[in-house]
Amino acid sequence: MGNVIDISRLYKSYFMDGGLEQKVLKDVNFSVQKGEFVAIMGPSGSGKSTLMNILGCLDRPTEGSYVLDGKEVSGLNDNQLAAVRNSKIGFVFQNFNLLMRRSIADNVSLPLIYAGKNDAYRRERAMVYIRKMNLDGYEDRMPNQLSGGMQQRVAIARALVNEPQIIFADEPTGNLDSKTSDEIMTLFTELNKDGKTIVLVTHEPDVAMYADRLIRISDGQKEYDGSVRAYMERTS
């Protein structure tokens, strides 16, 4: 089975104070195969952030099944979800989300602390990915001494350090200028070529173009699922 993600009949509802049910996701189904580069798009309020949170194991669906890397995760508790996030998922956020008072090496190796790895191993693995992101020599700097593009590369190194099955990137270029955005997206493309599965949430068509496949969410439902190029040609 080559599927990293398998979601079927996924529902997510929020309950208002008055007991009013608000369905944010309604019967969403799709699979992501190992090595795919998928972009998720959708207008704000469409439920794409909720979908991303569920896919990233930060939230649980109200109903339906989510199989991540062959394991059903929809019924796991907080600590079990934390363990899944640690071992199988790498996150890249819009605002980088680095620990500001820790060195680059500390930031990159942070997931390995929660994986229970020792100091020497953490440092060594962190250095491997710091080099891979062309950040040699910056390992003992603080994040605020680095440019936005470099900070995002630190975040990508951190996402990779525990060798996860899948990378979730939530608007990774949202805080970057267009030139740096291109650099970062090129990096993602290279990672994808190396075999990493990447799921990208964005609202910018230019960024989505780097992906191979597009899933468009609208009003809590899957509206489009197919080639990015085909969708872009259809809408333009």
Partner: protein
């Protein structure tokens, strides 16, 4: 794992140095205050116990009652005689009794001159007041009868008059009368009121009355000490003394005593109780500052959790389980209170030793404040850290990541 948590906590605390220091200061002040107050209380008890021991236990004191004229205390009627004091020795339970005549006069030895505080008494005082003779011999009952010019000298007086020379066998002059020093008293230190008990000269009361005061009534004394056997009831003994003195003074039924019997042991016990209550009170007040200090920790930790909401979100997203988040914050608060306790202990002990040294009191260092402050460190750290740590643990990672 534990080491890693401690390292993480240290990094977090040291990234806010001033804030961490000020919070630690609250615990430092609290713990050092408790340590100093306990030391003060123990010193007071020690001083009381020592002076009690140096005064001699199970003691009664008889002295003439005060004359009150129109509601004003105008002096004492000289009613007690050495014979009165001597007579109490016939009573059941009385082991020894010594009269005291007080006098102050200038003592001279060679070029040295010192205002000596003289106690005229009998050899019984040695037993009653637990004096020890370092060198030489005490004067005897025979010396009392013959008003011999023999004196026992206290160590302070001896120092002032003789310096480092041995006073025993020397002759000093008081009011131009030569007195032979027959013995040197062992040092007793300060009494309850802080008076130097070693600045004294003991001699037969008859000698004081006749040779120094030149009195025509040699039997009059200022007061008397009565030592009661340790297994006797002091109150009952006091009553027997009272009955005896009333009959000796021919005081009729319905008339007031012309003397007073004071129970010295009861007095000391009262002072002891007051001292104990005082030290408990001091420790209680000091521990309030410890409570304030621990509220300071909780306050800082709550601010820290709010401030680091994003950090908590990041850590959770990257796979930190709840216990990790909880432990991280608990370790920070325990670390603060632990460092505060160690420093507070150090400052408390040092300060009380320095103050003790300046005030010339021996301040005991006991194990209790040490055990106390370390258990307080852990308890305060856990108690003031648990609510913030729980709050951090309960944060929703999605909300926390969104927090600006």
């Amino acid at each position: 794992m534990i080491w890693l948590i401690i390292k993480e906590a240290w990094l977090s605390l040291s990234s806010h140095k001033l804030r961490s220091f000020l919070t630690t200061l609250g615990i430092i002040i609290g713990v050092s205050a408790v340590v100093m107050m306990v030391a003060a209380g123990q010193t007071v008890s020690l001083v009381i116990n020592n002076s009690f021991a140096s005064m001699g236990g199970n003691l009664l004191m008889i002295h003439p009652s005060f004359v009150v004229t129109s509601g004003i205390k105008s002096g004492q009627r000289p009613s007690i005689t050495a014979a009165d004091v001597e007579a109490t020795k016939t009573l059941r339970g009385v082991e020894a009794a010594a009269p005291i005549v007080r006098a102050t006069a200038q003592g001279v030895y060679g070029a040295n001159n010192w205002a000596v505080s003289i106690r005229g008494t009998t050899p019984d005082l040695i037993t009653v007041n637990k004096w020890e003779i370092e060198r030489g011999e005490p004067f005897t009952e025979k010396d009392v009868k013959s008003a011999s010019p023999y004196v026992l000298i206290g160590s302070t007086t001896a120092n002032e008059l003789f310096g480092f020379a041995d006073p025993v066998g020397q002759t000093i002059r008081i009011k131009n009368v030569p007195f032979k020093v027959v013995g040197l008293l062992a040092s007793k230190g300060q009494d309850l009121m802080g008076n130097d008990q070693d600045d004294v000269i003991l001699m037969p009361y008859t000698t004081v009355r006749q040779r120094i005061q030149g009195s025509r009534i040699p039997d009059r004394v200022h007061f008397g000490y009565i030592k009661v056997a340790d297994d006797e009831d002091l109150e009952a003994a006091a009553n027997r003394v009272k009955m005896l003195l009333r009959s000796r003074h021919n005081i009729k039924e319905g008339h007031d005593d012309d003397f007073e019997v004071m129970n010295m042991t009861a007095m000391v016990n009262t002072i002891k109780t007051v001292g104990l209550v005082l030290s408990i009170l001091l420790a209680a007040i000091a521990s309030i500052s410890l409570i304030v200090g621990s509220i300071g920790i909780m306050n800082m930790m709550l601010v820290s959790v709010t401030e680091r909401t994003r950090e908590i979100g990041i850590r959770k997203a990257l796979g930190a389980e709840n216990r990790w988040i909880m432990l991280q914050f608990l370790t920070e608060s325990i670390m603060i209170s632990f460092m505060g306790s160690i420093l507070g202990l150090f400052i408390g002990i040092t300060t009380s030793q320095i103050v003790g040294y300046i005030m010339e009191y021996k301040v005991p260092i006991s194990i209790w404040p040490i055990i106390l402050s370390f258990s307080v460190a852990v308890i305060v750290g856990v108690l003031s850290g648990i609510i913030p740590a729980y709050k951090a643990m309960k944060l929703d990672p999605i909300e926390a990541l969104r927090y600006q």
